[in-house]
């Protein structure tokens, strides 16, 4: 056993015993006898550690990193400078870590920059700054509680214990192509009173719903941002309705290392460790039920906005390092959110890497989805890089070695990299082309069957050589219409967002089935249900990785709002009563997921070759010009699986499909037929009834059938 010989203070300040700290790791870290504080700034020449009692607006003490101190054991004065290179580091002993919140003041030799003015650096020693590496952040401890706007230190660093009783848990490492991802918002999932949860809207609430997720059959949840964000950032009241509009989705990071306290039931206790424990406990429990956790991470910008935004942390520490700036000191805005994090600066790159390593190692997170990831391939002046060092570092990182890395391969500055994202054999992409093509096909667009066929087989036109796992297939996601709205609205209805319906995309490729929005017309309602099932069926038989949007399995609507980022209302909350209203949709989704899990030939890691054949209304003879296509997968070829035949009739009339012949001892059975009457449109995998007519299958207009041959 090694006993350290340096566990004693050398200096004292205002009664606080301390010594030169350790430069690594950055942040506040437990060391024997005390807490080590370490923070980078290249431009600052003055740094002070500010300690508060929890919740207090008046500091307990402000300890400089350079100046005159007392010797630890006497009143004698002694000079001290606790800095190595560009890192200020100090160990403070005997701190009651649960009771403490901390921040920093910094200054440098730069002119003071006022709000709204450009500036290379924006030092203001009057301001207390959040540690970019804070592992717990207080100040928004209860979701939606109106903050004290006068608080001079609104986002407060907390010290978090990283010992947790994992009881042997490890990340699951499920092969990417075997995942069925369920994208959800922590609060939206259980906040609605109909959830029946004891801890609604929280990590603990998700844990209560694990039996539901198991029943549905998904094996991965993708959480919309859970890094600490400020739901009150740019909050405002709707000019007509008076509704409080918030930063509800949370795509605007305050701190990259801290889980959002307001998403934890334990947030109210103002203890960073309990918040971390609650989230870790959710992950541990999900893992024990075979469900992975992917975090949606936002590294393209921060909550500090542009020249007019608040100084929270980064811009007051080292503006030029953390942000992409014009030569005058304006913020580049490739994110559409005011600023752009300078991700390919080596220091920021290290921070991103440290951050992801932390979540992978300390939280056992299984993967990450990178919001507007194309930005991560831009150099500090905004130019796209051919070999972006950050993406390369992430792809080759030892700790992230088994993590899923998923890029949203575009940004708000016009860089669109779907199919061309620097992958290094590791990166997968949100396949935006899958979404667009399948939506067009679903509403009956003609002449796109060539592209449809690519999407169904894992988009080899985009990802050849990268495998099917490179393609995250989705028809809906948090951005845009829900599946119910995709078949109920021709255009967006975003009036509730208070921007005169100007926000949100117009390229929805949606079709309302004959009436815009709510209707009682039974034919329209029936067609919408069928279209929803058509979409679910297509998604779950496509090669690649299917991703479902929370609630699409039960017909969730946002009343035609395709950009519901600002509503903490039932518009975003999942109404669990929909399960009673649309039991058939739930059953259909659940069975399609089970079918996918049961058939490895639907989850090939590589793009299909001779296993796959294309058909039309005539077997072995596809007509590539219409709205009708069918394909067959030969599961006998190397997979110990069945034959699977999928016919997609997006034409509006009934058509007979000639079925390919099976080997003599086998018969076609029908697993799904969205054109069949309710109750007969889907069967449990393994229980599929044999088709009476083995030669021809009659397909209703706008329907999908899945047959299994064995």
């Amino acid at each position: 056993m090694v006993t350290r010989i340096d566990v004693y203070p050398t200096h004292r300040f205002a009664g606080y015993p301390l010594r030169m700290g350790q430069a690594f790791p950055f942040g506040a870290t437990f060391v024997p006898g005390g807490i080590n504080f370490s923070i980078f700034s290249k431009a600052a020449n003055y740094c002070v550690l500010v300690l508060y009692e929890r919740g207090s607006q008046t500091p307990l003490v402000e300890i400089p990193f350079r100046g005159l101190f007392q010797k630890a054991e006497s009143e004698e004065l002694v000079w001290g400078e606790f800095r190595i290179g560009n890192v200020f580091c100090m160990t403070v002993f005997d701190l009651p870590y649960e009771e403490i919140e901390y921040g920093f003041r910094m200054d440098g030799n730069y002119p003071r920059v006022n709000r709204g003015q450009p500036g290379i650096h924006r030092f203001n020693p009057d301001q207390v700054l959040l540690d970019p590496y804070a592992k717990g952040i207080g100040g928004r401890d209860r979701w939606g509680m109106t903050p004290n706007w006068e608080n001079p230190f609104p986002h407060r660093g907390r010290i978090v214990r990283d010992d947790f009783d994992w009881e042997g848990d490890r990340p699951l490492e499920i092969p990417l192509e075997d995942l069925v991802i369920y994208e959800m918002h922590v609060r939206s999932f259980t906040q609605h009173p109909s959830s029946g949860c004891k801890f609604p809207g929280t990590f603990a609430g998700i844990r209560e719903k694990i039996p539901y997720l198991k029943d549905l059959g998904i094996n991965c949840i993708e959480l919309m941002p859970i890094y600490e964000f400020d739901e009150f950032e740019n909050s405002r009241y709707h000019p007509d309705t008076g509704e409080l509009l918030m930063n509800y989705w949370g795509y605007s990071t305050v701190g990259f290392f801290a889980p959002k306290a307001g998403f934890a039931f334990t947030g109210q206790f103002c203890d960073g460790t309990q918040v971390a424990d609650e989230f870790k406990n959710l992950i541990k429990d999900l893992h024990s039920h075979g469900i992975e956790v992917i975090l949606d991470v936002v590294f393209n910008h921060t909550a500090e906005g542009n020249e007019y935004g608040p100084t929270i942390s980064y811009r007051g520490i080292d503006n030029q390092t953390y942000y992409m700036l014009t030569p005058e000191g304006y913020y580049f805005n490739f994110s559409g959110c005011g600023n752009t994090l300078n991700c390919n600066n080596p220091v920021v790159r290290s921070m991103v890497l440290d951050c992801l390593r932390y979540w992978a190692a300390e939280y056992h997170v299984d993967g990450f989805r990178f919001d507007l990831a194309a930005i991560l391939s831009r150099d500090p002046w905004g130019h796209p890089l051919p070999n972006p060092p950050l993406l390369e570092s992430l792809a080759f990182d030892p700790i992230l070695g088994k993590c899923k890395l998923i890029a949203e391969a575009w940004d708000a500055g016009g860089l669109y990299q779907v199919g061309r994202f620097a992958a290094y054999g590791r990166w997968a992409e949100w396949n935006g082309k899958y979404r667009d093509t399948m939506r067009k096909f679903l509403k009956g667009e003609q002449g796109i069957l060539g592209e449809v066929s690519q999407r169904l087989q894992g988009s080899p036109d985009l990802y050849y050589g990268r495998g099917t796992g490179a393609s995250i297939n989705f028809i809906t996601c948090h951005d845009g219409f829900t599946l119910m709205d995709l078949v109920s609205y021709n255009s967006k209805h975003n009036e509730a967002n208070g921007e005169d319906n100007r926000d949100g995309g117009d390229d929805n490729h949606s079709w309302n089935c004959g009436w815009e929005g709510e209707t009682t017309d039974p034919e329209i309602l029936a067609l919408r249900r069928r279209q929803i099932k058509n979409a679910l069926a297509m998604l779950l038989v496509s090669q690649g990785v299917p991703m479902l949007l929370m609630g699409d399995e039960m017909g969730r609507t946002q009343q035609g709002n395709n950009n519901a980022y600002c509503h903490d209302t039932p518009l975003n909350w999942l109404d669990w009563a929909l399960l009673d209203r649309y039991p058939d949709i739930y059953r259909f989704a659940r069975s399609c997921i089970a079918f996918r899990h049961a058939h490895p030939v639907l989850r090939m890691p590589y793009h299909p070759g001779s296993e796959l054949s294309w058909h039309g209304t005539q077997a072995w003879n596809a007509d590539w010009h219409g709205r009708v296509i069918a394909f067959m997968l030969n599961g006998r070829q190397g997979h110990a699986d069945d034959f699977i035949y999928v016919s997609l009739n997006m034409y509006w009339q009934t058509l007979p499909f000639e079925l390919p012949r099976l080997p003599p001892d086998q018969q076609w059975r029908v697993f799904a037929n969205t054109g069949a009457p309710l109750g007969e449109e889907i069967w449990d995998p393994g229980q599929e009834p044999i088709l009476e007519d083995q030669l021809t299958f009659l397909m209703q207009g706008r329907s999908v059938a899945i047959l299994v041959g064995r």
Binding site: R207, T266, Q274
Partner: protein, 106 residues
């Protein structure tokens, strides 16, 4: 209220009565009672929690320490925890490894 932890041992059962606030400052006192209790190798550890007003993450960790120290076979009882503490036990998942009861009769 100040924290206190009182240990009594009867045959196979160790009993600790807790009161006050169990946080990082008071956790070491609780921990040393657990260590004392472990010396008699009890089959059952009963924690009387009705007067415990608050338990921070450091307190939870002593419970985990107790489980590790005593061994998996030892039954761990939490008697009459107040609502806040009961919820803390539930959402941290500790309710699975400990038996929460409203009252304890020998």
């Amino acid at each position: 209220m100040a924290f206190s932890a009182t240990l009594s041992t009867e045959e196979d059962t160790a009993k600790i009565t807790l009161s006050g606030e169990l946080d990082a400052a008071s956790a070491p006192a609780f921990r040393s009672e657990i260590e004392k209790a472990a010396q008699s190798q009890p089959k059952r550890l009963v924690l009387f929690l009705q007067d415990l007003e608050f338990m921070a993450s450091a307190g939870l960790r002593v419970l985990i320490f107790a489980k590790q120290k005593m061994g998996a076979d030892v039954e761990l009882y939490a008697v009459a925890p107040q609502e806040g503490i009961r919820e803390t036990l539930v959402k941290t998942g500790f309710d699975k490894s400990l038996i929460i009861v409203d009252n304890y009769a020998e």
